[in-house]
């Protein structure tokens, strides 16, 4: 996240120097925005991020304080990248010390009310989604020499790929919105306290957690098997106010106009030691504070990986929410398949289609490193071509090149010299890559891009036609935040390929290992999933899932739906592996009532909205579809490109006749979350009685992938005991 200070002379000089030296632009980040021609910026004083991963989804809550050191009231505008598949469910603004929760309104209406309240001098806040790029929060007013507190929460599915889970707290701005970057500057520094806490609760055994770009994070396992990650910048943190409990908010933060604007003196030393605290010793207590740096810069994504034990089975998990036995229930099914997918040994043709447009500036290093490693994985019987594109497409190789050491070394050298510049003619690049394929050999296209097409043909429909015209699988690495996932994901899935998101904070070797494991093994093609009630007492409808036609090694299938009544249902997954039909089935019960996970309703609604947005992307703007998105968004209280979250004073909600449905929904979710936190971790496995898969779920260990040697704390203790014994046994001889 960014609060940009680029208007300041020192920062401008630094940028100028970087450009003069030929360096890439500094990584953009999330933060508080200030017009480039504007005056001094506000201060992002504190930020506390709390993540709970449980029951197959993650709830992220961000609480932050904006401070105004100026003598005039100011508007705070905060922008951060859209997290992957995130349903924003809460925007809360503390007014007169009381938390006021936002309601969802149609976008133009919300903006109109916000501007009206602002003109009238009344407190108001607005959260909008800028397409697939950013969430923008505007808060009025941040009183002179005072501060304001806001909270934002979002929910997203938390799945596994080949036994590895991944959570990303996106901070690095994708750099894809040139107009915005030209107009705004951002301060990407938290001057006061920053903390990031993640609590992982699952019934399945998690062997390890890891933050590749944040080695100073404290990682601990609790007695109940859950895991905690803690990261902070070593500054004293004001405890976040519990939801709905204004009285307990710290006095200095409560009234918007009461607290003096204080930028902590300790925030100034830019040369404070960088992350020095190592992850705690195995089994040791987490330190109270894992010092990272002061102040904290919001320019690096926080990526958390977790690895499930290889002994955990292939399975079907189900989480349901049905508060009323006679009403409608919502469920989320997650399939972690175990299938006998054999390695593919025949030679293949690979076409790498690589984006080197200006928006790839902060990611070009990751791209070249990934491509270098991918080339290193090719086998002697393979062939490859490399196509680059920005304003136009060009081939780096001269036709298909056999995989020899010299050819790979030369291509790697080229890849490492590539500079990001110009616009993005994605269509031309993709077309050149697809046209390059040899019809007589098995081939695949690896597309690496942020997908922000702005030159040449940019019509989504034409991209889909292009990929469907060729019988070739497209594998897409979606680079960075704010990438055009709404275009890249359906285009890739339509070709029968798969897309992976890649952050600069990712372990690129790990990402590559996983992708390699997928493309070098057989896959389940023609995927069909059917769920049918076994009796008349159960009805299932409104199924929503990604249009996955091919299921690759290690991939999960997630679907949402509604149900009425209760009782058994039969689940059947069919498809073909290397032309041979296969089928997997199981049977399990839908509960009459379930109150544990009310968040499922928002997740279903988000899946529904995603489906509607894909229709718009495919077939163009449609008033009916847009209305459907707005209705769903308002009914379930989640943000969409066509709706916004608005906060006004409590009495103004009444005067403007705005219902408080989201406040009530949020209260139910908060209660459920507190109840879950007090309960033991629960099993969500649905097919325990009749396992759907007989083969184990694929894992990197023992199968393809990487392995390591970790002697560990017990090994070290044994070694020390042996050393002590050996030296002791030698003493008589020494004497």
């Amino acid at each position: 996240m960014i609060i940009r200070m680029m208007a300041r002379p020192a920062a401008a000089l630094a940028l100028g120097a970087a450009i003069a030296l030929g360096a890439g632009l500094p990584a953009e980040a999330a933060g508080l925005l200030t017009p480039r021609n504007g005056g001094p910026a506000l201060d992002l004083r504190d930020q506390h991020v709390d993540v709970v991963v449980e029951d197959g989804y993650a709830v992220t809550t961000i609480e932050q304080v904006f401070a105004n050191p100026l003598a005039t009231d100011e508007e705070a505008i905060y922008s951060f990248p859209v997290p992957l598949a995130a349903a924003v469910s809460e925007f809360t603004y503390w007014i007169d010390g009381n938390p006021v929760t936002a309601e969802v309104l149609e976008k133009q209406e919300a903006r109109r009310i916000y501007e009206g309240e602002k003109q009238a001098g009344r407190e108001t806040g607005l959260t909008e989604q800028d397409g697939h790029k950013t969430f923008d929060i505007a808060v009025w007013p941040v009183r002179a020499n005072a501060d304001v507190r806001i909270r934002l929460a979002y929910i997203q599915p938390a799945g596994l790929e080949t036994g590895i889970g991944r959570y990303v707290y996106p901070l690095e701005e994708g750099g894809v919105d040139e107009a915005k970057l030209a107009f705004w500057t951002a301060n990407e520094t938290v001057s006061g306290a920053f903390s990031f806490d993640l609590h992982m609760r699952t019934d399945y055994t998690i062997e390890a957690l890891r933050l590749p770009k944040h080695p100073g994070a404290a990682i601990t396992q609790e007695a109940d098997g859950s895991w905690r990650v803690h990261l902070d910048n070593g500054m004293a943190a004001a405890p976040p106010a519990p939801a709905g409990d204004a009285a307990s908010a710290p006095a200095s933060l409560a009234p918007a106009n009461a607290a003096p604007a204080t930028t902590p003196a300790s925030a100034t030393p830019a040369a404070a030691p960088a992350s020095t605290a190592a992850a705690p010793a195995d089994g040791a207590e987490a330190p109270a504070s894992a010092a990272a740096q002061q102040p904290f810069r919001l320019d690096t994504d926080i990526v958390v990986y977790w690895r499930e034990a290889a002994s955990e089975p292939a399975r079907v998990d189900m989480v349901a929410y049905k508060p009323d036995a006679s009403g409608r229930g919502t469920f989320m099914l997650t399939l972690t398949p175990g299938m006998d997918l054999k390695p593919i040994t025949e030679g293949r043709d690979w076409v790498f289609v690589l984006d080197r447009s200006g928006s790839m500036g902060g990611k070009i290093g990751t791209l070249s490193e990934g491509v270098s490693r991918a080339l290193g994985k090719l086998r002697p019987e393979d062939r490859f071509r490399i196509v680059y594109f920005n304003d136009q497409a060009e081939e780096l190789t001269h036709g298909f090149t056999p995989v020899t050491r010299e050819a790979v070394e030369q291509a790697v050298a080229w890849a490492r010299q590539v500079q990001a510049e110009g616009g993005t003619d994605l269509y031309a690049g993709l077309k050149m890559g697809l046209d390059a394929l040899d019809a007589d050999r098995t081939g695949a296209v690896i597309l690496v891009t942020d997908g922000e097409a702005n030159v040449g043909n940019t019509e989504t429909r034409d991209f889909l036609k292009l990929t469907q015209a060729k019988d070739v699988r497209l594998f897409t690495a979606i680079m960075g935040n704010s990438a055009n996932t709404p275009l890249l994901q359906p285009m890739t899935l339509a070709s029968g390929g798969f897309a992976v998101s890649v952050s600069n904070s990712d372990d690129i070797v790990g990402v590559l290992l996983d992708a390699t494991s997928k493309v070098t093994h057989e896959a389940l093609h023609g995927v069909k999933l059917a769920i049918d009630p076994a009796g008349a007492s159960l009805r299932i409808d409104d199924i929503r899932r990604d249009d996955i036609r091919t299921l690759y090694r290690g991939e999960q299938l997630v679907l949402f739906g509604h149900y009425w009544g209760d009782g058994d249902a039969a689940l059947k997954l069919t498809g073909a592996i290397s032309g041979k039909p296969v089928s997997f089935d199981t049977r399990f019960a839908f509960p009459a009532t379930a109150t544990r996970d009310p968040e499922l309703e928002r997740l279903w609604a988000f899946a529904e909205i995603e489906q509607q947005l894909q229709k718009i992307a495919l077939f163009g703007e449609d008033a009916d579809v847009e209305l459907s998105v707005v209705d769903t968004s308002k009914a379930y209280g989640i943000l969409s490109p066509y709706t916004s979250m608005l906060v006004v004073r409590d009495e103004r909600f009444q005067e403007l006749a705005i219902g408080r449905a989201n406040r009530d929904r949020l209260a139910a979710e908060t209660t459920a979350r507190e109840t879950r936190a007090g309960q033991p971790v629960q099993s969500v496995r649905a097919d325990r009685g009749q396992p759907m898969f007989s083969s184990p779920a694929p894992r990197h260990s023992g199968g393809s992938g990487g392995g390591s040697g970790d002697f560990g704390l017990p090994g070290l203790l044994l070694a020390l005991l042996v050393l002590a014994g050996a030296l002791r046994a030698r003493r008589p001889a020494a004497a």
């Binding site: 601990t220 390695p343 260990s701 560990g712 070694a719």
Partner: protein, 213 residues
Amino acid sequence: MRVLRALPHGWPRLPWVTLGLAALCLALFAGLSGAPAALVYDRAAILDGEAWRLLTGHLVHLDRHHLTYNVGALLALGTAYETARFGGPARLLLAIVGGGAAFVSITLLTAFPGTQLYCGLSAVLNTLYAALTLGLWRETRRPLWLLAFAADLGKLAFEAAFGSIFSAGLAWPPHLGAHVAGLAAGCAIAFRGFEFSARPAYIRLAGATRLWR
């Protein structure tokens, strides 16, 4: 240190090979930022002729956690083995590190074709652990050393059943097959090499060198 100075053959007084290996692991980690792609065990690259990875893969580590425990165990076990009557610097360097690493790598190549990447010293530490504890048992005939050997077996069995104990943070999961291969190599070295134990160090060096011709 008094015990080390009182060694009967008088050389070496400090476990120089152990200290050197530990320093090498630390330097590789600090200088090359963890496990560099050019040095890890990479099955495809090895089959393509990059044979140095058979050895260097065991000397590079993924992160500080990985490095700390492995180098800590190396310092403890290496010191004991290098200064033991049946051990010595040459045997540690050539038989344990060289032979153990080669055996583990060849096992990975032949028995685990699905393992594309591997790094870390722990498989070699299992070699060292087995050679040391079984060597001490052969030297002293005290059952305590068999118990110590069994403790490592128990640790491996536990990890096979329940995953790594207290392990947090490794990008690549521990490879049980490599650990078992390392332990087997250590057993072979302990029983094959006992007859050299009573010889002076320079003879042991020559003898150990001949082993690898």
